[in-house]
Amino acid sequence: MALKDYIAMEERCSNCSFCKFVPFDVAKSIRFGDNCPSGCYNNFNTAFARGRFQLGLAIAREEIGYTAETTRIIHECMSCGACDVSCKVCRYNLEPLEHNIALKNEAIKAGHILPGQKKMIKSLEEEKTLMPGKKKANRLAWLGKLEVKDAMKSKAEVLFFPGCRYSYDKKLFSVAQGALKIVMATGADVGILGEADMCCAGRAYQMGFFDEFNAAAKANVKAIKKTGAKMIVTPCADCYHAFKRLYPELGLDVEVLHITEFIERAIDEGKLSFSKKLGYTVTYHDPCHLGRQGEPYVAWHGKEKKIRNQIHTWEPRRPRYIGFYGIYDAPRKIIAATGCNLEEMERIKEYAWCCGAGSGCSEHSPELSAFTANERIEEAKATGAQMIVTACPWCKGNFEKAGGMEVKDILELVLEAM
């Protein structure tokens, strides 16, 4: 939807400030009671979902134009969705996350984007990745000498999709290989997209670049359909979200599993077991796009309908994404199965604090991104854990950049315990 389609929501925001904090039923402290990295970094009301509603209203009604500061604040949102969950504890007819992204898209359409975003989109168009400086020609380097079926040439039941970060970050090559080996070890008929492999473009969507996302996603859907795959397995939370929540609207109709779900299933079916008990004390960071945004897509095309004079609902019934069905248990079960002790942070699951890499912020807004990661590391340290474990390469990379604590991909625990 265009920004003007959100005017009703913008006017109906109750100004209650729930979007600024974790759901209050589960708040445990003042220090870690906030939920919006952009709001806490910028401080101004403008940066919170509530401010974005009001800013959007003024822009949609053409009451104000864009300045450099307005443009910066609009794009300095990680689309992490924490505001969305907290808002929907009480509100059944607002969509803060959707609106935040629509606000970005409106700015983009008006030509107001950040320099870092320009580079990312150029890279997507030219090199098929949102990681500037990386080359399409090197995309399969992560495989090393590992041999796997090219599903574009020979059909495969399961498609393994590593995503850009695993494909280009040399430190993660062995982890990506390990993930693929785990899938292969279960006896699955697995392949990759080979030369057709490219960015899922989920981050382009998060940034509000809808046209660029659609172009990339359509190409991916076409390629995936050609492989005949019935299941996609990915170790990347962003790719998982793109395939599971965004691609179905563009015609993708396959089962989408994050690697943690695949491993959990393999353990339950007796296809995977661990030989070592690692004994680490760890804390787990829920990636936004695996956790609260990892809920299944539900098709909806409808309109507002008022009942009882003024109660606004939707016709037909609209899906209400609130993080309830996100992926929280699989990673925790895996951590337990590897013999690690889990010490939970204060902000977990659907109300987890973002890692700081969402919506490309680690590329285009590094200060905000570093602030956000440091906040999470402080929270992780407060648990007394030895390390912070996560299930997304973007989160891992951002935490490593922040420093101060050992960071592991959950796959590293799995591979070590096998």
Binding site: S17, P23, G51, Q54, L55, G65, Q310, H312
Partner: protein, 556 residues
Amino acid sequence: MALDRAIYKAFEQVVGKRNISEDPGVLETYRCIAAQSSAHYGPYDHKTPTPQAVVMPGSTKEVQGCIRLCNKYGIHFKASTTFWSAHGYIDDDYSIQFDMHRMKNFSIDAKNMTMTVEPYVIAGTAQAEAMRYGLTCNIPGVGCSSSLVANVSGWGGPGPSSVYTGSAAENLLCFEWVLPNGDIIHTGSESAGLAGFTDEGPGPALRALLRSGGGLRGEFGICTRITFKLSPWPGPSEMTTEGHAPAYFAKLPDNIRAFTLCFPDWDRWGKAMMLLCESDIIFAGHRQFSMFGRDIKAAMLEILIDPDKQLCDIEELNKLESVQKTNKSIKIEMYVVVAGMTKEDMDWKLAALNKIVEMYDGWFDERCNQKDLEEWMQSYFIRMGHKNLNYTLCGSYEGTFGLNGGNLLYSASIAEEAFAVKREWEEKDTFIARIGGDSSMGGLSAMGGGQGPMLWEFFAHFDAHDKKSISGLRNFIDNVSTKFQREHDCPGPEFCRCNQMLRKESGYGFTQEEMNEIYKKMPDVNPYIYQFKVQKLFNPNDLTGSYYPRLDPASL
């Protein structure tokens, strides 16, 4: 009109470049949309004025520096924290908006059971901190997302647990206040350089002058710190819950229970409530979910505890026999939490509760007292974690017309008549939600020891996006308020749309001349003359708006 560059730079030097903005996009988000539920201002289809700049001081010294600049250059100012209420928004074009977001330090003195907080500490997380020490705080009815400092300085701050903890105003010990002229004052034991363990007295108190009975509603400078009393919390050191958003269920020990009490008529309900207030057995009490409306409240409870249900399910749920049965049962009800300090204490409290319910032929609702709803309600009333269910139906509501009689039994005696009037409007006028007349709510005891406030906030839900709904709501309240004022001598419009007399319909503040015209018509003009003198003393440059009603005696 932008601020003169030299003036802007002066503010920038006080708070730092990063903490001041005059960007049009930023300023836009510091305007109150008068169509939203904003402490009974309007509703109108416009916004309050745009400030010249927003400043975010990080300390009392920075607050003082900015206020002194406002005095030097004759700039009006207002401060707010979470920006819910219209009171905190500026009401003059040549104004600076203070955003107190950066001031959120706090400390707890567990031994003396006190807590000291800066403006951006909100009630929900303050309570979480207090619970670590076996303590809790009053969570004001405005909700746990609101600033405690704003509650104490700006209003009275009653809430569901005020029957046990006392209201925000009652718990205040000391405050630090930057006056409109830039002077800083400390009250209570802090004024002697000691810890904040006691308030002022004996003798005249600045506390009474600066916050008075109801609070200053954003006037008179900026309160930068308060110390207030905490109360014992007999539960775990953190609010243990299960479930995911939106339905969290408290997992608390047996000495903390939630109950839904029901009565056959308002007379017996009122008498039971008075006895509950006096009995000292209630931790929190609120007639709350009644705000959804008599016809749909049972359905709403089923929706709120089930993540798969939505507002569009109301009608289907209402067809269920079980929902109809609950709706009938909880027609005249009260929701309470009982917390025992020991097993014996809990046993006694439960026995007393049972006795009171029995005395007035009441009953415990079967459905609401089942485990899932009880656990959900525990979390609701202890933390007020879902307070903003006020907005669930339509996004906005307005309330309080005529039922705030100041005496519970009086309010109860005219309740059904008021509900019938509202139901009639719901049927004939589609601008407010049709939910069954009765949508009144209120806490069990609050300001002044209780008994009055229940039934005080009579909700009318409307759509802030729908211009007809906005004006229709206004028309409804004005008509009904006038009727009740005329027929029952209820405060009516004086209270329910009190901001009509504090901020002009345009969003701007009243001038002194305009205030003179309003307040010289009051039956007793003396309080307004007194406030005029206080204003002259503490706010000589008249920089903080018209939320402090005052009458210039020279105009009489």
